[in-house]
Symmetry: C2
Subunit: 200 residues, 2 copies
């Protein structure tokens, strides 16, 4: 069965962005504070991380066969310039196919009939590999729909004091997780993985 | 120099209590989900944790010479029945000495002239040992006053979706920490320690 996971870089006090949906200069330092280079599908974007984080990113990239993202993230990143840095197809959950884009492309597929259809579509694309879900709002919906298998947190030693929580407004709380099943210490980040405990 | 630390059990999404100031049945499971008994100064309260958590609690208890707590925590616990479970003197930050209590006792000292005076007093009591600060509101004030050296988080694999953040309303965010300087995996909890990065 294709595994569905989500992950985010999170401050120690639980925020994946500050209150203005920014603060990434504090959260994403670990992508640039080391000396091991990891190229991405975007020629302008190369990660420079600790060796431990580089290996962590490499494994994640290898495992991932497709992504499911919300329309906001797609718009915010301008469709990642045409191809996601992880170099995998991205299923975008949206109400309408954005102007200038095909409904079905090699890099992006726009699904307009809801989160479950988007996950199904991404699973079909991913095959034996995993489906990754970003960002927090979509991940929360997937978790609420009972479709999420794992939560990955890149925990950063900074306190933001206020901001956007990873699972804001979660309707089925409390949700019990199991783990961490993995703990990888990078430079200025701790990579943690948890399994969602399934009911029944 | 006497080290000042704070610590809390926190959900993976950053909450030290749910929105009703409860939820402890989810957060505090790790105090009762193992088979290593750790007695406390309260004969009715014995922790039953994993061996790793028991060792973690033992070390913390040995290191701690005094506590600083807010009046709300003191009231909520009814002064821990007269003696804190860690069996150390507790400095209570309050506007007024509560009725029925001495200003200066062996178990409790009530300080009415602010957080810095309370920390000074606790340091004098603790001597070579550490001062621990609880709960979140007081810890936030101590951090804002530049008096906090370490933050300890007992990270629990549960998502509460909403609740009371550890450092709610932090006025000096972002605060950079260093670490984790310690990672101890218990059963249903990960004990993490961070140093507060001092300015200048």
């Amino acid at each position: 069965m294709t595994k569905v996971t989500t992950g985010a870089t999170m401050s120690l006090d639980g925020y994946i962005a500050d209150a203005t949906h920014g603060g990434f200069e504090h959260l994403f330092q670990w992508y640039g504070n080391g000396d091991v280079e990891t190229p991405t599908a975007n020629p302008d974007m190369t990660f420079r991380t600790s060796a431990a984080s580089a290996e962590h990113v490499r494994e994640l990239t290898e495992r991932t066969g497709a992504l499911v993202v919300g329309r906001r993230l797609f718009d915010m990143t301008n469709g990642w310039g045409g191809r996601h840095p992880m170099d995998v197809p991205v299923v975008v959950v949206t109400h309408h196919v954005p102007e200038g884009w095909e409904r079905e492309g090699d890099s992006f597929v726009f699904v307009t009939d809801g989160i479950e259809a988007a996950i199904d579509r991404a699973k079909a694309i991913a095959g034996d590999k995993e489906v990754g879900v970003n960002g927090g709002t979509i991940a929360t919906q997937v978790l609420e729909a009972g479709l999420l298998d794992e939560v990955h947190v890149d925990l950063v030693p900074v306190l933001l004091g206020d901001g956007i929580p990873f699972f804001a407004g979660l309707k089925i709380a409390p949700v019990q997780l199991e783990g961490p099943t993995r703990v990888v210490q990078g430079n200025g980040v701790t990579h943690l993985a948890y399994r969602v405990r399934k009911a029944g």
